[in-house]
Amino acid sequence: MSQLTINNVRIAGMSACVPATVEDNLTLPIYKDEADALKVIASTGIERHHKVEPGTTASDLTVKAVERLLQDMGWEAQDVDCFAYVCTSRDFIAPQTACILQDRLKLRSDCCVFDLPFGCSGWVYGMSIVASLMSHGTFKRSILVAAETNTLNRNPRDTAVRPLFGDAATATALEFDPERSRPMNFVYGVDGSGYDAVWAPYGGMRNPVTPEAIEEKEVAPGVYRRGIDMIVNGMDVFGFAIKQPPRSLKELIEKFSIDVESVDLLLLHQANKFIDEKIRKAVKIAPEKTPYCLEEYGNVTSASIPLTMVTRCREKLTGSGEQHCLACGFGVGLAWASMEFYAGDIKCSDVITY
């Protein structure tokens, strides 16, 4: 089994930026009436989401979030040793968006920067990668971004996804600090046979863009998609999401002998309320320890967990006491990862709208 323990690194700060435009599910034109919309809201828990205007990308939201983080941390851009950009809605096919962000954010030219094209598992995976690089001791300060513009890579006329997904960028500041850090523990999982449960079939090298790939087609009554759009096969994702995340968390709990009673926060990828509640109940953690931000922001893929922390756990995380946290990210891949960590005395900025 792949498991990992990382020492000497702590979360020092967090920030988030969401676009100003809000789309309310109750008034979406895709429902036949309000009762229809209410049914979806009741089962998913998602009432609205923020959505970028044409021309704004995940990297634009990222610049706002990182600039705020640096300011509130009292860090200079030049202090950053490593910068990781978790995102699937990249600015260009090439180069990596992290390279462009190095220049926009005025990071050092010898900074270690890279993209991590993960979906919903991305923040947890990203934490393990960046913290692991830092644990060697020479990278003192790093930033992990988890950002996504789901409304751009999905079709607005796809009724299966429009009410569920939103846009956001988050930045997590990590620091090498042997004195104040506690071990972070990770377990991983992947099932590539489910690659087409959440995917964009056209636009890569396997199926290049053709005139047909950008043609919008009605694939089911009222559901329109292009070949280049991200597709979510709801039933397969659901079956996966009620099975693997609980197993992964249980594996983490067992491997690292975690006392579930001592857990203060269960931070779940904000898929939807129905799925997340099934996971929460499976690992027997109380509802008051399981924060949600999906009602306001929808599913923002890799940004879900950090956005929940910034918008719902600010008081706890900025307080001097340590919060014992479990986190689980799961989705596109299919890939998932769970993590145990402690967090406290974090500089946590107010969520920015842009």
Binding site: S43, A160, G234, G239, I242
Partner: protein, 76 residues
């Protein structure tokens, strides 16, 4: 596992359709109340009751409740 219980568990996922409507031969996708959300409830019910995770295609390829029962039974 028996078909009577399965039909009962299946019908419990519907709010507006009377339980008496459901038999093993019910073509469930033709019911007015059937929707993608009901499909998710069915997947969750089969996980809860039978500890089996079915695929989206299992539902797409089933016409009657009996068809779905047969699929679940193969997994046991």
């Amino acid at each position: 596992m028996n078909i009577q219980d399965f039909v009962e568990n299946f019908s419990a996922q519907f709010d507006d359709t009377d339980a008496s409507v459901f038999t093993a031969d019910t073509r469930f996708k033709e019911l007015d109340e059937w929707s993608s959300l009901t499909a998710l409830s069915i997947i969750a019910m089969i996980d809860d009751e039978y500890d089996v995770i079915i695929k989206g295609n299992d539902i797409l390829n089933s016409d009657t409740i009996q068809d779905l029962y047969n699929i679940v039974e193969k997994h046991l």
